[in-house]
């Protein structure tokens, strides 16, 4: 090994190294771009083929497919089962599939009412063969047979078809090898540690890949994107402070455990629903512990130290918050739990203001908006929510700005927009250095360990708040831009697959998660380049920070749970298996 290392960075072949480096420099961002484009095409280009869970047979043998676990039945065009008859209300009823495969129907204010076998019901079970009546319009609920279910899953396009995820992962591994080579050619120490860290990363991503293959799941794009971002995160750590390499990997390990456990729980709606309450309580406990035990760093009191191990509870609360906010159709329609959730949000917001963690508060605010938007069943209530929350936000902002004994917030805000006048004070030092270093890196970067921002890691936050600039300086603006494309692809994927979601629970959770990830990227990136004030928010998967890493993997589980492409996700039970249970 040492011989290979000394050959690769040998002094005798300086010219060869220069050539290699030039080739690596140019090909690295291009390879990264190919990886992200392949993943994005697979995530965004799939055919939207719905799953059918039951049939509704109308008079005259007309069959209507029931395509979700929760179906709004009504006259309006956005209903899941559209009954365009004058006697049917716009929002008439909700037909829901239970864990054991049975069905229930709930009257949500349909004018003509809902009847099961001639008996009017507010809410009740429906068996296959039962005659349902919506405003006098009669139909029979019929099952999907096992054969049909099997045929359906055979007929649907498998996830990743045409964009082999395995090949993409091979490319990612190649990218990681090239990153390590770049480190060697630039003679960054400690070589063994860097090689080991990237080796572990590659091993983990392949293990996870094969584990999913074993259970016949082939959608690996979401994970590939996460591992690509992690690769850049390790590249930053390797250059800034190699002792963070293993920390990041350990955090990834814990994050993966959360990811897999949460994903497995999300297969079952009932389990997931139960988990909500546990999560909500856990979130409260975390924040209270933070309030009591928190240490103040840079003006924010959002760190807890346990021995030499430190973490930010508010990061993990994000996962709890998403779980608490997700909701099934039944509850949306009946507005059950909405007040509880609003109170929960206000509690979290209050804690964050006390902790003076303005950036995280903003993230929660965006997460809340995403959830509120999805949960509100009518537009007037959306407006109401927006007004209420908007007012609250203004108040919080006023309080934060008024309370001047939070020095770092005030200073950072006052430098915003004219950073070049504050090159050497707190108001503009970070962003001006970021912009200078982004320029210095050009499109292809200066190489690992060759940048200047690495001197500003840790206290100077160049490996966290300014990580976009860090990657830009050492690996080039193209590669840094690719990180943003990757996250945007995740966002668009959630939007695209939402329509096929089995339950609104999954759609809400996935949208909220991806909104949080995107909002973090926005605040981090915009802060670095002075589009917004710096808020100290991390860039998902890239910024140095254990709690942030765990949170990101946790949020990723919700994305997997909304991926209903055929055989895509371990967090989604195969539909023929679901049919087996009935």
């Amino acid at each position: 090994m040492n011989q290979i290392l000394s050959f690769l960075s040998g002094t005798g072949s300086a010219q060869a190294i220069a050539v290699y480096r030039t080739v690596l420099r140019i090909s690295l961002p291009l390879l990264a771009l190919i990886i992200v484009i392949r993943s994005a095409r697979s995530l965004l280009g799939f055919r939207r083929e719905p799953e059918v869970w039951a049939w509704l047979r109308l008079e005259g043998d007309q069959l209507l497919p029931v395509m979700h676990w929760e179906n709004l039945i009504g006259r309006k065009k956005t209903a899941d089962v559209v009954l365009d008859f004058a006697t049917v209300s716009k929002n008439h009823a909700v037909l829901s599939r239970q864990r054991d495969g049975s069905w229930t129907v709930r009257d949500i204010g349909g004018r003509g009412g809902v009847e099961v076998n001639g008996t009017p019901v507010r809410s009740g079970e429906v068996a296959y063969g039962d005659v349902l009546s919506f405003g006098g319009l009669e139909m029979t609920l019929e099952p999907v047979s096992k054969e049909e279910a099997k045929l359906q899953s055979l007929a649907r396009t498998r996830a990743g078809k045409g964009h082999s995820p395995g090949l993409t992962l091979i490319l990612l591994t190649l990218l990681q090898a090239m990153v390590v080579l770049s480190f060697f050619f630039c003679r960054v120490e400690p070589r063994t540690k860097i090689l080991t860290a990237f080796g572990i990363l590659a091993l983990v991503e392949w293990l996870l890949f094969f584990a999913q293959k074993l259970i016949h799941r082939s959608g690996y794009e979401v994970e590939t994107i996460a591992f690509f971002l992690m690769t850049m995160g390790l590249a930053v750590a390797g250059s800034a402070n190699a002792s963070n390499l293993y920390k990041q990997l350990i955090s990834m390990g814990i994050g993966l455990a959360i990811f897999l456990t949460l994903g497995a729980c999300l297969r079952d709606l009932e389990t997931a629903e139960k988990l909500r309450y546990v999560a909500a309580v856990f979130g409260i406990v975390l924040l209270l512990a933070n309030l009591v035990l928190g240490a103040r760093i840079n003006g924010s009191k959002n760190w807890i130290y346990i021995g030499s191990f430190s973490f930010q509870p508010s990061e993990l609360v994000k996962v709890c918050f998403v779980l608490a906010g997700a909701s099934t159709m039944d509850m949306i329609v009946t507005r059950k739990n909405l007040l509880l959730f609003v109170l929960y949000t206000l509690f979290i917001g209050g804690c964050l203001v006390v902790l003076n963690d303005f950036g995280t508060a903003a993230i929660f605010f965006i997460g809340f908006l995403a959830i509120a938007l999805l949960r509100s069943s009518s537009y007037p209530s959306i407006a109401l929510v927006f007004v209420g929350v908007g007012l609250a936000a203004v108040m919080v902002l006023t309080v934060v700005l008024a309370v001047r004994h939070f020095p770092h917030v005030g200073e950072r805000f006052s430098g915003y927009g004219h950073i070049w006048d504050h090159m050497s004070d707190n108001k503009g030092y970070q962003q001006t250095r970021a912009l200078i270093c982004i320029s210095s890196g050009g499109l292809f970067g200066l190489g690992p360990g060759q940048g200047w921002l690495r001197n500003m890691a840790g206290e100077g936050a160049s490996d966290t708040d300014l990580v976009f600039a860090f990657v830009s300086e050492e690996w080039g603006l193209l590669l840094a831009a690719t990180m943003i494309f990757a996250l945007a692809a995740l966002g668009l994927f959630v939007v695209r697959s939402a329509r096929l979601g089995r339950s609104s629970f999954y759609t809400i959770a996935a949208t909220a998660s991806v909104s949080i990830l995107l909002a973090q990227a926005i605040l981090n990136f915009f802060g670095t380049v002075d589009f917004l004030p710096l808020t100290g928010v991390t860039f998902p998967f890239v910024s140095n920070g254990g709690s942030s890493m765990m949170c990101c993997w946790g949020l990723l589980a919700f994305l997997k749970a909304c991926d209903t492409r055929q055989n895509a996700s371990f967090a989604v039970r195969l539909s023929e298996k679901e049919a087996d249970r009935t």
């Binding site: 209903a79 899941d80 965006i366 982004i438 320029s439 668009l492 809400i508």
Partner: protein, 454 residues
């Protein structure tokens, strides 16, 4: 489900915002990265090894123990271009070329650039600068000379100035000795032009009034326009004046009448066409914009404006460029200070000549040239060189609460010595008397430098 799914808009908006932000940043990078990198302390001005004048004389070596020129006069004459050690004067000209000095380009950033050994070649001549500063003799003002065919600035001197080795303390400056000490007046000041502005009025008249050269104007020493009196210098009655005589005698009464004939609109249009109110960008220096605003002005103010008083203000560098345009038949080369920049042993920048837009028609420029040469023959003996056709106009600008500002502007109509110049001396009194000897010395120095080069 479907109605819930239709409200995933938040994720869509955020993804869109993120991509939009990225796009805007990439555009900003494409436009501004030069500027960002020029703030780099690490490799900025510090990467300069040597700054030389047009003849190779060393003006500045930032890393040497004694960084500035050995000659005290040259040090004083060039400190405003090179920057001082206390940081009171920003070396805008040198900062402009930091991207080249650090080997920056937008594709590769600073990659592969081992930096250092930056060499900057200027177009100014140290010896001319010294002559100009000596000629100003401690008076506040500025002298500028440039080649109107190539754009090279040979001289850009400002006064008061100081020896960077003996920087004065200016905190207690009751008698205003150090007023505007850190200011490069040539780029960053504007002055009431006085009668040199009659060249603008004359240009407008030549272009707009076909028989202007056949007209005569009566001067009794003063004239009443719109109820208010306009005087000639010392109330001198010039009698019947042709345009040529009126310009040579700087007859305010005649020019009051000419300005009336031209009218506010055409005079304003001419000033705008010449760029009196524009800012020029000269190697890191944005010149201060002049002013010329006749909106709502009555006949009296129009007359004063045509004479060069009223609220007219001109920037010396911009006015020098206008002189170049007359000399060059309408369009002048745009002025510049830096000829070449080397770093890492490679040529990173070489100046190219660009031209201004047309300021005056070719025919009018030729007529004006003759009129201005007549001025020199009649009035300005010091610059009436034999064998070289010098054309000029002087001015004595009244400034409220101060002695008059002496102004002098013109050019040499010559292919061998295509030089345009401007001399401004604050509280200098008569432009003809105070400025023309300064101009003569500086022009001779320039001619000698150019002779030596050819």
């Amino acid at each position: 489900m479907r109605s819930t799914a239709s409200r995933t808009g938040m994720a869509l908006i955020l993804a869109g915002l993120l991509l939009f932000g990225l796009l805007s940043f990439l555009i900003r990078y494409a436009v501004f990265s030069d500027e960002w990198i020029s703030h780099s302390n690490r490799s900025g001005v510090a990467s300069i090894e040597q700054v030389t004048d047009r003849s190779g004389a060393v003006l500045y070596e930032p890393h040497a123990d004694k960084p500035y020129s050995e000659d005290a006069l040259i040090r004083k004459a060039t400190v405003h271009l090179l920057g001082d050690r206390e940081g009171n004067i920003d070396p805008l000209m040198l900062k402009q070329y930091i991207p080249q000095l650090v080997g920056f380009d937008k594709i590769n950033g600073t990659y592969g650039m081992k930096g250092g050994n930056g060499q900057v070649e200027l177009t100014v001549s140290a010896s001319v600068e010294a002559v100009a500063l000596q000629a100003l003799n401690g008076r506040k003002g500025t002298v500028g000379v440039y080649n109107y065919k190539t754009g090279e600035i040979l001289c850009a001197v400002t006064s008061p100035t100081f020896d960077p080795y003996k920087a004065p303390t200016v905190a207690d400056d009751a008698d205003k000795t150090w007023e505007g000490l850190y200011l490069h007046r040539f780029f960053h000041s504007t002055y009431t032009p006085g009668s040199i502005f009659k060249l603008v009025t004359t240009a407008a008249a030549l272009e707009n009034i076909p028989d202007i050269q056949d007209q005569t104007f009566n001067c009794t020493g003063s004239i009443t326009v719109n109820g208010e009196v306009i005087h000639c210098q010392s109330n001198k009655a010039h009698g019947t004046q042709t345009l040529e005589q009126a310009l040579a005698n700087s007859c305010n009464c005649a020019y009051a009448q000419i300005a009336q004939q031209v009218g506010a609109q055409r005079l304003s249009r001419k000033a705008a066409q010449i760029g009196i109110t524009d800012r020029l960008f000269v190697d890191g220096y944005w010149t201060k914009a002049g002013s010329f605003d006749l909106s709502g002005a009555d006949a009296n103010r129009v007359a004063w404006a045509g004479i060069g008083q009223d609220i007219d203000l001109v920037n010396p560098c911009q006015y020098m460029t206008w002189m170049g345009a007359i000399a060059n038949g309408g369009k002048a080369a745009e002025p510049w200070l830096v000829r070449r920049v080397y770093s890492g042993g490679k040529l990173r920048y070489e100046a190219k000549t660009t031209y201004t837009s047309s300021m005056i028609t070719k025919a009018a420029a030729a007529e004006l040239t003759d009129l201005m040469h007549n001025n020199v023959e009649e009035m300005y003996a010091p610059v009436n060189f034999s064998g070289v056709k010098v054309c000029a106009k002087s001015g004595t600008a009244e400034v409220y609460g101060k002695e008059n500002t002496a102004t002098f502007a013109g050019f040499i109509a010559s292919d061998r010595y295509p030089l345009a110049f401007v001399v401004i001396i604050e509280e200098g009194g008569s432009g003809a008397r105070t400025c023309s000897p300064v101009a003569a010395n500086v022009l001779w120095a320039c001619i000698n430098v150019m002779k030596a080069e050819s």
